[in-house]
């Protein structure tokens, strides 16, 4: 049976892993490789590396760490942030990333999605969506440039419409980051994810809000997402991935059990 995926997300800035709250106030956590290796060993099903400076910062960013990760770990990983051209995507994939995730550049140039899918195949093109619930009008609104609070801005898209647009253009997976929940550990946005699940024909990954093991169980059973992404609960040691998987198995959720070396 296909397992639900547990996906630690590592925010990378200048080659180090950092962490902020609601996209702000980033603190350095540590070097990339040891953190990546420890998550893989702990039973993470996949890793996401999100270069948070890149998309809102036009400089050329050093991505040599991607190849170092590819040499080191034996689980799939995605690189997000700062990829806005076929050439940049090719470089990241050639270094050994399994998938690339596009967010703001796709909003600026939706046709980019089609070009990436044609060039590299649907299976490696992930679209990240930053969605904010506007309590004033009751709409889920798509934001861009969320890596930099000074440039973060609302787009013309409502989330459901943008989701339909990107899957029509060939996106192979969606990571829905629910901004209201990000970093505050009050639980995933079950309501929003449940609304979007039926219109998402590709894998859907929940992001933003994980605080307890129960939150993971809820998002899998109530919103039927394929994976759950989290950062702070793993970085701060609030939740141990092995324990989380044991807990989810007890709740009869299909997960890949943590195995020690099989050789």
């Amino acid at each position: 049976m296909l397992a639900r995926r547990i996906i630690p997300c590592l925010d990378v800035r200048h080659g180090e892993v950092v962490k902020g709250v609601q996209f702000r106030n980033h603190q350095v956590i540590g070097a990339i490789e040891p953190l990546a290796a420890s998550y893989a060993a702990a039973g993470a099903d996949e890793l996401v590396f999100y270069d948070i400076t890149a998309s809102s910062d036009a400089r050329v960013v050093d991505k040599s760490w991607v190849e170092r990760i590819a040499r080191l770990i034996d689980i799939p990983f995605t690189v997000a942030g700062g990829i806005s051209s076929i050439a940049q995507a090719r470089e990241i994939l050639a270094m050994g990333a399994d998938k690339i995730s596009i967010n703001s550049p796709a909003l600026r140039d939706p046709e980019l999605i089609n070009r990436l899918v044609d060039e590299f195949g649907q299976q490696c093109i992930v679209i990240g969506i930053d969605s904010y619930f506007n309590a004033d009008n009751g709409h889920y609104e798509v934001f861009q440039f969320t890596g930099d609070e000074n440039r973060t801005q609302k787009t013309r898209w409502q989330t459901a419409d943008w989701l339909r647009e990107v899957v029509t253009r060939g996106a192979g997976e969606i990571v829905l980051n629910c901004m209201n929940q990000d970093g505050v550990r009050q639980g995933y946005d079950i309501e929003q994810l449940r609304q979007l699940r039926p219109i998402c024909p590709v894998p859907l990954i929940a992001s933003g809000g994980a605080g307890t093991m129960q939150h993971f169980a809820n998002v899998f059973t109530e919103a039927a997402v394929d994976g759950a992404l989290a950062a702070s609960v793993f970085h701060r040691g609030v939740i141990d991935i092995g324990e989380l998987k044991g807990y989810l198995a007890q709740q009869h959720i299909a997960i890949r059990p943590l195995t020690t070396k099989v050789l």
Partner: protein, 201 residues
């Protein structure tokens, strides 16, 4: 031992190369027919579409080279599908070294691509089987090979499909052993340890 990863010009070759390095083998990435023929083991990776991959193999004049290889050959993901006779992805004739067809997965309302970790089941007991039934491997695909006499492992997503196939010296894995943790590493090591006698069995 020399291992050649066939440079299909559309694949994520480095992740396979790095996985072999973790198994202690420095593989050569090449599209040179002489290098491929001389290798002890050959790996045919593949990412992208069957149509594009077959077009590249024709342009590189590697179709007959691969078809006539006698040493163990492992096709990974799309590379496994290329070993079959035909793929619905672009309605394209493939290498036809394992009689089977590649069709789009029939999954009803389940999300596609089939992406993530899924369990492997063994077919038969007398074949090369480098995993334990129930082990998880990492899959990413929307097309799959139908099960038949050449299936050595299956998995299930909406339908049962071939997770591994074998005929003679040709082996295929629909999943990505290079990204399947310790299970994948064990499968790669078993492949690297195959002998000529194994492939004649």
């Amino acid at each position: 031992m020399t291992v050649v990863i066939i440079d299909t010009a559309c694949a994520n070759l480095n992740s396979v190369r790095f996985a072999l390095q973790r198994c202690g083998v420095d593989a050569l990435v090449s599209a040179d027919a002489e290098h491929i023929k001389a290798a002890d083991k050959v790996i045919l990776p593949g990412v992208g579409t069957a149509q594009a991959a077959m077009r590249n193999l024709h342009q590189l004049e590697l179709v007959e080279v691969i078809r006539t290889l006698q040493q163990p050959v492992l096709g990974i993901c799309l590379g496994m599908q290329l070993l079959t006779s035909w793929s619905a992805e672009g309605n394209v004739d493939c290498l036809n070294v394992i009689p089977a067809r590649t069709e789009r997965l029939q999954v009803n309302q389940l999300p596609l691509p089939h992406m993530g970790w899924n369990t492997l089941s063994a077919v038969g007991t007398d074949r090369w089987l480098p995993f334990n039934p129930g082990d998880y491997a990492y899959f990413v695909h929307s097309y799959a090979v139908a099960t038949n006499d050449y299936t050595i492992a299956t998995s299930h997503y909406g339908q049962t499909f071939a997770a591994m196939i074998q005929r003679g010296n040709f082996y295929g894995a629909q999943f990505h052993p290079e990204r399947s943790g310790a299970v994948g590493a064990k499968i790669l090591k078993s492949f690297l340890e195959l002998t000529d006698a194994d492939t004649r069995a």
